[in-house]
C-alpha cells in the first residue's frame, strides 16, 4: 500500500535507501536532513539512481518525471525526503 502520511513516507524513504543501496538499516536510521547522499555514498551510478527512483515510485504510489531528477535531488537525505513528501502529498 502507498504510504501517504509523513512518518510513513519517511520510513519508506529510509527503507528504500537501505534495500536498494544495501546499507544497514541501523545506519540509515541515523541519517539526518544534512546527511549527504550523492557523492558521499559509494556506487551511485545512473542505473542505481534509476532503481532508487523507480522503487520510490512503486512504494509511495508517485510518478517522478525525468525533468524533476536533478543532481540536487539526491544531495542530502533531507532533499530526497522533502521531494518524496511533496510528491506523495498530492
Amino acid at each position: 500500500m502507498a504510504a501517504t502520511d509523513t512518518d510513513g513516507i519517511e520510513a519508506t524513504v529510509r527503507a528504500v535507501l537501505a534495500d536498494v543501496l544495501a546499507i544497514d538499516p541501523a545506519r540509515v536510521a541515523r541519517f539526518t536532513d544534512e546527511t549527504p547522499l550523492f557523492g558521499a555514498l559509494p556506487e551511485l551510478d545512473s542505473m542505481t539512481v534509476a532503481g532508487l527512483l523507480t522503487e520510490l515510485e512503486d512504494r509511495l504510489g508517485i510518478r517522478i518525471e525525468d525533468d524533476e531528477v536533478s543532481g540536487d535531488l539526491l544531495s542530502t537525505f533531507g532533499t530526497l525526503l522533502r521531494f518524496a513528501e511533496g510528491k506523495a502529498a498530492r
Binding site: A15, V16, D19, V20, L21, A22, E43, L44, D45, S46, M47, T48, V49, A50, G51, L53, T54, E55, D58, R59, D66, V69, S70, G71
Partner: protein
C-alpha cells in the same frame, strides 16, 4: 539454452527477466534450476536473441524477433520433451510467455513493457545529464543503459503487457533483487519459488 534436471518428469521453460534485470536475477535463476532438478523437474533457460551467448546483435532485433524466439523455444523443448512444456516467466519474461505454446503458465512479478522501457530511459537520461550528452528518442537505435534498442524493439516493448490470467502468479516483495545497486543472490527466495512451482506442477498434472 541452459538445461538442467532429469529428462523424464515435467519440463519447464524459464523465461528470464529482460535487460539489466537478467543480470540481477542470474544467480536466483541458477539456484532455482538446481532446486527444480532436485525435485525431478527439468528446466530450460534460454538466452533470447541479442542477450547472453546469442550472436545476434541486439540493435538489429525487434520485439517480434523475441516473440518468434519464444515460439521457437517452445517448439524445440516440445520436440525434445515429447510434449508442450510448462513455462515459468520472470518479470519481462511474462511479456513473451503467451507466445511459447506452453501447456500452462506461471509468473513471478510480471512486468509491464512500458514500465521496463521507462526505467531504461530514466537510467540513460541520468547518465546523459552527468556526462553532458544526449540520447534522442528519435534515434534509430537508442543506447539505453548499455542496451542498443532499435525503434521496432522500443515500440513493441512499450506496447507489451502480460496477457491476462496466467495459471499462477507469485508476487514480489518490495526491494526485490533487480532494484538493488549490485547483483546478488537470494537462495531462500529460489527455494520458495521452486516449492511454489512444484506445487503448481502437481495441480497441472492433476487436471
Amino acid at each position: 539454452m541452459l538445461v538442467r534436471g532429469p529428462e523424464d518428469g515435467p519440463q519447464v521453460v524459464l523465461l528470464p527477466p529482460l535487460f539489466e534485470e537478467m543480470n540481477f536475477t542470474r544467480a536466483l535463476l541458477a539456484e532455482l534450476g538446481r532446486c527444480l532438478a532436485r525435485q525431478g523437474v527439468g528446466s530450460w533457460l534460454p538466452d533470447l536473441p541479442g542477450t547472453g551467448e546469442s550472436r545476434h546483435p541486439l540493435p538489429e532485433l525487434g520485439w517480434q524477433d523475441w516473440l518468434d524466439a519464444a515460439r521457437a523455444i517452445g517448439d524445440a523443448v516440445a520436440a525434445r520433451a515429447g510434449g508442450n512444456p510448462l513455462v515459468c516467466a520472470f518479470r519481462g519474461g511474462a511479456l513473451l510467455d503467451h507466445a511459447l505454446g506452453a501447456r500452462a503458465r506461471w509468473r513471478y512479478a510480471p512486468a509491464d513493457g512500458a514500465a521496463l522501457l521507462r526505467h531504461l530511459v530514466r537510467a540513460q537520461r541520468i547518465a546523459d545529464r552527468e556526462s553532458g550528452t544526449d540520447t534522442p528518442a528519435s534515434a534509430t537505435v537508442m543506447d539505453l543503459a548499455g542496451y542498443g534498442l532499435s525503434a521496432p524493439m522500443r515500440a513493441g516493448l512499450e506496447g507489451a503487457k502480460p496477457t491476462p490470467d496466467p495459471d499462477r502468479e507469485f508476487a514480489a516483495a518490495a526491494g526485490a533483487l533487480w532494484r538493488r545497486a549490485e547483483p546478488g543472490r537470494d537462495d531462500a527466495l529460489a527455494h520458495l519459488l521452486a516449492s511454489d512451482i512444484c506445487d503448481w506442477i502437481e495441480t497441472c498434472v492433476a487436471r
